[in-house]
Symmetry: D2
Subunit: 263 residues, 4 copies
């Protein structure tokens, strides 16, 4: 089912037949963690129905504490792939170590590099060698220049299928989990040909503030958003405060449809 990704002349990344780049707005949605077949299937169908174009789900979870839920591992990845096939949605999932890369690349369409691994250089090289599309999250204290330098590690292996992701930076403000740096979008659009999406869920960390920031991301010229959706957020095994319900997500995609794609 995985087809060879290719890069258009300019800034676009193709994930199967989904185009991420100028003139398009990707909506990447799914649970923080894949928790069960029922959970991911139900979520995949719900987000598809509301307009999602890619399905996300965590199999390996980087957690601040070693005693927190660490994800279902490869079993989670297989469930995600199954849900992706069932809904015809390409899949996005994080790889945390070099040894996971090959096996994850065999079943997942877009390999995500998390914020804590933006400068895990061996991992960057490893995903670079797969040729697979990569969603590269900005480190939570990385400058824009450092994000681009990290992308160079992937490109140096011959892989230009990179989707950058702004997900909030560390600042003194504590009302939100991080500070979403939307100014980075026009800066990145000027400095690179790579598409850039926005993750407001991890930036603000509070469900009801995510929708307005999705709209802002589209208006500022981002090429998409990535958000966390769960059938029942209060039962989520990770990031429950920021998980959207199906209804929240449907409202957000409806709101997004009122904002034109900016270019």
């Amino acid at each position: 089912m995985i087809t060879a990704p290719c890069v258009s002349g300019s800034r676009d990344v193709f994930v199967q037949d989904v185009r991420v780049g100028d003139g398009y707005f990707a909506i990447i949605a799914g649970p923080c963690s894949v928790e069960s077949r029922a959970q991911i299937m139900q979520t995949a169908h719900a987000v598809k129905a509301s307009g999602a174009t890619l399905l996300r789900g965590g199999a390996f979870k980087p957690r601040t504490s070693p005693y927190a839920f660490q994800g279902l591992g490869y079993e989670g990845a297989e469930l995600l792939a199954e849900a992706g096939r069932a809904t015809d949605l390409p899949t996005v999932s994080e790889v945390m170590s070099v040894e996971q890369v090959e096996r994850m690349a065999a079943c997942i369409d877009v390999l995500q590099i998390g914020t804590r691994n933006m400068q895990n250089f061996d991992l960057l090289r490893a995903v670079g060698r797969t040729g697979r599309p990569v969603l590269l999250k900005r480190g939570m204290s990385a400058t824009i220049d450092e994000l681009l330098a990290a992308a160079e590690y992937i490109i140096a292996e011959g892989n230009q299928n990179i989707i950058l992701c702004e997900r909030g930076i560390r600042t003194f403000e504590s009302a939100t989990r991080n500070t979403l740096d939307l100014s980075a979008i026009p800066v990145l659009r000027e400095r690179t040909h790579l598409p850039v999406v926005v993750d407001p869920s991890h930036a603000v960390g509070v469900r009801r503030w995510i929708g307005p920031l999705c709209c802002a991301a589209k208006a500022v010229g981002a090429h998409g958003i990535i958000v966390e959706v769960h059938p029942n957020p209060s039962d989520a095994l990770s990031d429950k405060e920021q998980a959207l319900t199906f209804e929240d997500f449907a409202q957000i995609t409806a709101d997004l449809s009122r904002i034109p794609v900016m270019s």
Copy 2:
């Protein structure tokens, strides 16, 4: 010409007959500094023609260095008022000290408190006592809670005509002058009835990144923007890097018209 401001039942501030609040989007534009009659008149007519709803212009300029241009003072304020009358635009200008408040309130519609004075408590009390609409800028390292506490100093004098302004916070990122904290908008909309506008000019400090952030500000639910416009930015006596040309500004208001007012 100055009419008594009043507050509607909920979140709106009236500046003459211009309403700032839910369902409206204020466009506040004008030069960083008033430099001459010709400059402010030309700018006022240009921004009015492109859709500005209020006219801004600095008379007293807080400058990091004592040797930088400090503004035309009361003469600048009078020129701004004249340009406002000529174009039927209410005016916004900064007050920097208690002694300026009364005289500025006599000719200017909205008294602006700059980012460096957000916790200049005597000044907050002084503008509070005027009853005049106040545009209160967030300190560049102030939390959202501290911004609201600063507004309390004005409210404690009986003046609720306050327009809050997010203008970027200090972070490690140096590609932009500051980091515009658009996440603050949904947080503020939840925590206060006061309207909040966004100043992207001082946040990013680079002309060509301002337009996308204006659109983002509207999409995230801000009640307006405030931007710097100059007939010839390269000749501006202050902030020339971030001043918009008349053409830039016309393009931005055209782009803004494509974004609905969110509520």
Copy 3:
């Protein structure tokens, strides 16, 4: 009792006969706020006995909330001056507005500019005109360059009697109230002839971490410290978490005596 201050050839500031500069280490201590004659008298005698060289005490208090204790005003300043005379300690107290400057200068030896007023330019000019020694605190998000530019506002009025003060900057770390930037001391020693002292109380905000940072301040080459001491911290009307007891302070000065003056 106030004698004309003067500046030595190089980096020293004289406050009466107390020298602040290379080869000396000033210990400035006293309550956050002057609360009563008994409180300030008792504190003055206690800190004098433990080695303090200047007496601090707040008369006008800048408070985030308008509903918090705002200080005793001029009455507090007079009590501080009285306690200074009784113990032969020069006094330090904050001025918050231009109108306070002349009257405060008549009874207080060192006029303090607080962190929130570092760029209150009219106030800087006003203390500059007094010729009185000024203790200029770094703004909580001010760069080192901006601190020096603020000092220029005072110097431009002909007053070089400036003691700079590092007091912590805003960062993402929340274990401490602010992050004390001791790296600023060698940078400032290189860039300016002005002496620089360190305020660890406001930086860390927790009593038991202040002592080690006082020692670090001396070791890094600062010209002194300024700390808050109270007869009974749990009863303090402001900043009770960071006020030192008399015993704490005596221990700190004993520890400081084990660190040589670095130059």
Copy 4:
């Protein structure tokens, strides 16, 4: 030559017969990168003569750009080990990926986890399993709590031989490369039994400011420092701006001897 490390009852870590903990002050010195046998041998003898107690040197270098010098790899590690044996100094070197851990542990005494890998959880687990002493650097935007949570990943594998390292955090201040957070030392001493050392070289990034911060680190209660020393800094292949000459280092250890060990 590598002996089994062991932990004393409380906070001490033993590296061979060098004790890191209360009452001791470790001086860890050596080049940023091992560049040649001559360079590391010469440096090892010089730092030993001036009082260093451990020898550091980079074999694998995490670099922001893929096109920068990446270190000599295992050859560099072998050269470092040889220099350590020749001078009877235990060695410290960074591991960047899980696959390097076993081979590095066979020749290096202390495995360093760099700032970019503080939350590379698989790597933390891998060094945990070796039982070898680990020098764990704080992430450049990690809170103190997150640093301790990262240490838990190592401890969870049964390895308590952890030396924490404060190395500067990201802030808005640009005069220094990072902001050294010395307030973290008393906080860490209160919250954990693990020893903590300070790396001022990476924090300030400028040679001549390192000495004062070494003294401050000792005075604030750190259990040691780690600094970069090079025979000829202007020829260094990495971090040349912050490398100390042999003379600089000798002056610093002389200055340090004037500061008592605080506890």
